[in-house]
Symmetry: C2
Subunit: 156 residues, 2 copies
Amino acid sequence: MNHNEFFAEYIGHISSPRKDMEDDNWGNVVSIIKLDSRFPVSSLKGLEEFSHLEIVFHMNQVDKSKIVTQDRHPRNNQEWPSVGIFSQRAKGRPNAIGVSRCELLEINQSEIKVKSLDAIDKTPILDIKPYVKEFGPIGEVRQPKWIDELMEDYYK
Amino acid sequence: MNHNEFFAEYIGHISSPRKDMEDDNWGNVVSIIKLDSRFPVSSLKGLEEFSHLEIVFHMNQVDKSKIVTQDRHPRNNQEWPSVGIFSQRAKGRPNAIGVSRCELLEINQSEIKVKSLDAIDKTPILDIKPYVKEFGPIGEVRQPKWIDELMEDYYK
């Protein structure tokens, strides 16, 4: 490996009722995060004290030919501006890493039941972190109008 | 590669005045995210409309022998409970992936000046995402008391 390469092993997988890549309506999706058996249950000790998690996952079912390295219209909607791939959260991005907050519902040994995780069935996981308030944005959040519109039905 | 392995190429590096791993006082740290030259400047088009970014980075300067796969006392403080590595955001974690929000100050070609990014100099970057309000936690955030205490000076 040269000095610009990153190598990791998945720490688990997501089991979700959503089998296909769809853009919207993740709000009521309940899925299971299954930790790989090489980690003891103690690696999740105390997690139940957090209301939300931050999951880092690999969007490995995205067609590699669809990865964009410059700009494009989000969701190919010409009414929205063409913005850089690093200025949007589209899945067709270099390294195909997703980061999402979700609500923690229940933990059963090495299985974590969560709500509103926008990852499809069989998605491999790179990390599980507790969501910590103080790590949220400091100061007021500003974002463009196109993304307010794009997010309208996302968690409905 | 087998089906449990993840491979990626860094998309850039962080240039920071902080050269050593320290736990606290990230609030006023100003650093530069340098995008790799293989990405055109258009990959960042429109990014200036966002106030905050979410940076995914590789904590590659963490000593591999310090990686924990079970539970431990955060910062080795015995007054805090021993919690699983996936129940804390410690750097000595499997895959050593960091995810942090920071404030966007200025963009100059392929260099992004940010504030409060808790990554040390030369840290390689895996992804840059705009922070989007709707992706924040849904509902009230609950977290244990030990992490309130741990975070007290983090962004001071």
